[in-house]
């Protein structure tokens, strides 16, 4: 697949997110069930993203690991997939589909503004632990998105106290807890890969430090929920949204702002 074809497919996918968002809002306003249409739309968008990722992979003969464009493109795919699976398994997460589609649309527009030029993957990146590390990271971010989107919706609905709020609240904490497990595995797999690639398992580079801070923040929130049981529920939901913001900054900001060796020893 040529670069032009890949970009066209990506534009179609981003447009697809916008269409799904619009349909979601319209259907919910008219009181009709939105999920069948939304999930079908997201599945079509994911198919387009699969074509874009696979085409790039085959053309460049390397996985989408290194550049901001690679990371955005692969995250559009993985976030959509993880959300669809999570919402299929936990119906309470479906209510936040418009927020998820909106976020993915913004991420898609961002991916269209950055350079799509590929950078050769360093030899040290050719390691199975990198695959596990990245997969766990994408699962973490996808689950965190599902939790944060649902928490955002709950924060917006606080005054109306909808009848399904209890299920949605439980879904938020389930998604965040699973995200915590995935994050923990991501740290371990990353340490094993780093030891193999650079001869050290931890070096406090910017990405490692901020990833550890994100893990600590989730641990803190899970602890706070047990420690301060009378804490207003909105505090917890706000914290979930803040943690997702921190995770986005960590994964999509820190690696591309710092000159840390995590970018790869050439």
């Amino acid at each position: 697949m040529s670069m032009a074809m890949e970009r066209t497919t990506l534009v179609a996918a981003v447009t697809g997110f916008a269409v799904v968002l619009a349909l979601d809002v319209l259907l919910r306003r008219s009181g009709k069930p939105a999920w069948p249409t939304v999930s079908g739309g997201l599945a079509i968008v994911m198919a387009l993203l699969t074509v874009a990722v696979a085409g790039r992979w085959l053309r460049e003969s390397q996985g989408p690991f290194l550049t901001l464009y690679d990371v955005l493109l692969s995250n559009l795919f993985s976030l959509t997939l993880v959300y669809l699976v999570a919402a299929w398994l936990v119906p309470a997460l479906r209510t936040a589909s418009a927020i998820v589609s909106g976020f993915l649309c913004v991420l898609g527009v961002w991916s269209l503004t950055v350079s799509a030029e590929a950078v050769p993957l360093p030899a040290t990146f050719d390691n199975p632990w990198l695959w596990l590390h990245v997969t766990a990271g994408k699962l973490f971010l996808g689950l965190c998105l599902a939790a944060a989107a649902t928490a955002t919706l709950l924060l917006g609905r606080r005054a109306s106290a909808a009848p399904d709020s209890g299920e949605m609240d439980a879904a938020v904490w389930l998604a965040l807890s699973l995200a915590f497990v995935c994050h923990s595995f991501m740290l371990i797999a990353g340490a094993i890969w780093a030891h193999s690639a650079w001869g050290r398992y931890w070096a406090w580079d910017s990405l490692e430090t901020w990833t550890f801070i994100t893990w600590l923040c989730i641990a803190l929130l899970l602890h706070a929920r047990v420690t301060f049981r009378r804490m207003p529920v909105a505090y917890g939901w706000s914290a979930v949204v803040a943690i997702f913001g921190l995770a986005i900054l960590t994964f999509l900001g820190v690696p591309f702002l710092s000159v840390a060796p995590h970018k790869g020893v050439m």
Binding site: P120, V181, R200, W210, L216, L220, H223, T227, R229
Partner: protein, 333 residues
């Protein structure tokens, strides 16, 4: 005593410890050089808090998976601390055809309790090859080493970007750092000969400044500059190796002395004569020693598995788990 333990085991102290740890991890991100001192206090608070909780919080002990996860974290913390005390981190350059010499190692970090056994490591650096794809993209590294085992037998290993070797607990990893080394013979005025190697800067990273200073045994400072006949081809694959390289060595000394010598040629300089014997490659290795690494990995995976089981139990029976934790929290408070 029990009252003190219950106070130390408080979930509120866990909260404070975690907030402190986050603040200090943030400080580490701003001042990375000071990582360990910044983290000792909050980690110590959390370790004490957890130890006390293990002793006095019965509800905590009733949740085996949650308990195992926290014990795993505690063990991880202790193993990391012990690893810091025992560790050794260094780098070394070894020239093709020469034996590893512990005296040439540059330490980067040595734990207080590290017992140096590096001089017992014996290996000879064999031929080295680094493949490049077109556009000077580094591909595979093949560094052959001949390792002498403790029983005196020799084993040959092919070291690459992901494949290191271990000896006496020291792990040697090939780095991207490698370059040419000029093998020179020095003959003094009385006819006594010695051979040495002058390592040049990393290649091809510093292709533009392939020179280094060398002090002769007579005390004369010379600058040796490698002059390669061919430039690196950037439009096709290329192999970095020491065989079949067409080169000369420029020799610059004091008093505007300048000469050029090819392989096998000699140049008279102050106090003796220098002969260019051969062109070799040197390989840069990173050396690390952490005998607790396998235990660290085991503890990490055990803790992770326990966390997974705890979450599965928690969400399979959310109400039961929540009430048990709440009871524990109230007891601790």
């Amino acid at each position: 005593m029990t009252l003190l333990l219950k106070s130390v085991a408080s979930l509120k102290l866990t909260f404070v410890g975690l907030v402190l740890l986050i603040a200090n991890a943030f400080a580490v991100s701003q001042w990375p050089g000071a990582a360990i001192p910044w983290l000792v206090l909050p980690l110590s608070v959390l370790a004490l808090n957890l130890l006390a909780a293990l002793l006095v919080r019965h509800a905590f002990r009733q949740q085996a998976a949650l308990l195992l996860f926290h014990v795993g974290l505690l063990v991880l913390l202790m193993l990391v601390a012990a690893g810091v005390l025992l560790r050794f981190d260094a780098s070394v350059e070894v020239v093709e055809g020469t034996a590893f010499d512990a005296a040439t190692v540059t330490p980067r970090g040595t734990g207080w309790l590290h017992s140096d056994k590096l001089d017992e490591v014996q290996f000879v650096q064999g031929p080295l090859e680094v493949r490049y794809l077109s556009g000077l993209r580094r591909d595979t590294t093949h560094s052959r080493v001949f390792l002498t085992r403790p029983d005196g037998s020799e084993i040959e290993r092919d070291i690459g970007d992901r494949q290191g070797f271990s000896s006496n607990g020291y792990r040697f990893m090939a780095t991207f750092n490698k370059g040419y080394s000029v093998l020179v013979q020095w003959r003094d005025l009385s006819g006594r000969e010695t051979i040495g190697a002058v390592n040049l800067p990393s290649f091809p990273e510093f292709e533009w400044k392939q020179s280094n200073e060398w002090i002769t045994p007579a005390g004369e400072s010379l600058t040796l500059e490698l002059k390669l006949a061919d430039r690196i081809p950037e439009d096709r694959p290329w192999l970095l190796r020491s065989r079949d390289v067409d080169y000369e060595v420029g020799i610059v000394g004091s008093g505007q002395f300048e000469a050029t010598a090819g392989p096998g040629q000699s140049v008279a300089v102050a106090g003796g004569e220098i002969t260019i014997v051969d062109l070799r490659l040197w390989m840069g290795y990173r050396i690390d020693y952490d005998p607790l690494l396998p235990w660290l990995l085991t503890a990490a995976f055990l803790a992770l598995a326990a966390l997974g089981v705890h979450m599965a139990q928690k969400f399979a029976a959310p109400r039961a788990a929540d009430s048990a934790v709440a009871a524990g929290g109230e007891q601790a408070a």
